[in-house]
C-alpha cells in the first residue's frame, strides 16, 4: 500500500478530473483536444492525454493481472509473424470478478 492515497495520480484534483472525465463519458478525441489546448490548467497533471489517463486507471484495476498480454513469434525460416494474445480463461475470470459488472451478472435463465 502506497503512502500517497491518490497514487498514481499526483493529487486529489488530478484524480477528480480523471473521475469526472470517466463518469461523464467524455470521448477520447475530446479529452485529447482538452489537454492539447491547455485547458487542464496546471503543469502538475500526471496525465496529459486519454491514453495516459487510461494507463493510470489500468494501474488502479485490482483485476488487471488477468489481462496480461503475451507475445508469440512464428517463423518458418522465410516469414516471421508476431501475434499478441491473452489467456482466454483469465479474460473470463476478469469479467466475472469485475466489480463494475456485479449487478449485471446472472447465473440462471431470466425472462
Amino acid at each position: 500500500m502506497t503512502a500517497d492515497p491518490w497514487n498514481p495520480f499526483s493529487s486529489e484534483d488530478d484524480f477528480s478530473l480523471a473521475s469526472w472525465l470517466v463518469r461523464t463519458k467524455v470521448a477520447k478525441a475530446q479529452m485529447d483536444a482538452y489537454f492539447a489546448e491547455g485547458l487542464s490548467g496546471t503543469d502538475s497533471r500526471s496525465f496529459w492525454s486519454a491514453y495516459t489517463m487510461r494507463q493510470h486507471l489500468d494501474v488502479l484495476d485490482p483485476f488487471g493481472e488477468y489481462l496480461v498480454w503475451r507475445e508469440a513469434v512464428i517463423d518458418d525460416g522465410q516469414h516471421a509473424i508476431t501475434l499478441y494474445y491473452r489467456n482466454i480463461i483469465d479474460c473470463v475470470r476478469y469479467l466475472i470478478r469485475q466489480v463494475a459488472y456485479r449487478s449485471d451478472m446472472v447465473y440462471a435463465p431470466i425472462r
Partner: protein
Amino acid sequence: MRLFGNMIRVWSEYILRYIRRTGGGIHRYEIGPDMFQVVGVASANSPLCSSIESEAHGSTVLPIIGLSDQTPLTNFLEDTKAWLVYVTIGNMLSPTRNSPVKMPILLLALLPVLPKFTGESARADKAQEQMNADVPPTVFDLHQQNVKTSPGPPRGVMVPLVLLVHPDPPWSTFSVKFQKGWIRMDRSGPHSDIFLMPLSLRHYNRWSQKER
C-alpha cells in the same frame, strides 16, 4: 442459497435434456457478418455430455461470445492490417454487454493478416482447408474452473471450449471458425494457456512466446 442451487441444478438438467432431445450435434452455431456466437453444445456421445452429467450440478455453463474484425494499423508505414479478436461472456445482461462505455468486451488477440502463400505452401493450405471442410464440427471439451465471482464466493464455472476438431495429430486440438478464415485454439496444458492462432500457420516450424 438452497433455492439458488436448485435453480442451477434445474438449468444444468435442462441443458442435458436438450442435448439428448436434439440428438447431439451443435444445435446453434451462428456466423453473422461480423461476429459469431457460440451457444451450442455437443454431440450426445461427446465428452461434453458426460462432463455435464458428472460435473454440472452446482456449476454454471458459461457461454463465450467471440467477435472479430479486421483493422488497418495506421501507425505503420506499410499497408498493414491486423485481425482483432474480442471475447465476452453470455452471463452478462445484454444492455451491459452491448454498452459501448462499460467495456465488457475484452480484446483477446491481435493477429496479423497472413501473407499469401504460393507454390507448395498454397497447395498444402488448400488441401488442409478441404480436409477441415470434410470434418463434422464437434464440441470437444469443457473446462471446469473455480472462479471468484464479484457478488459472492468462488463458483464452479464450466467454460465450453470449443468447437471443431480435426483428426490430424499433432494438430488435433481445438479450432474455431471465424468469419474470414480459421483460427486454431490450442492449449499447452490442461485448463491453461490457451491461445489463438491462424490455422494456416501450421506451416511454421518454430513457435516462441513470452509475456509482455
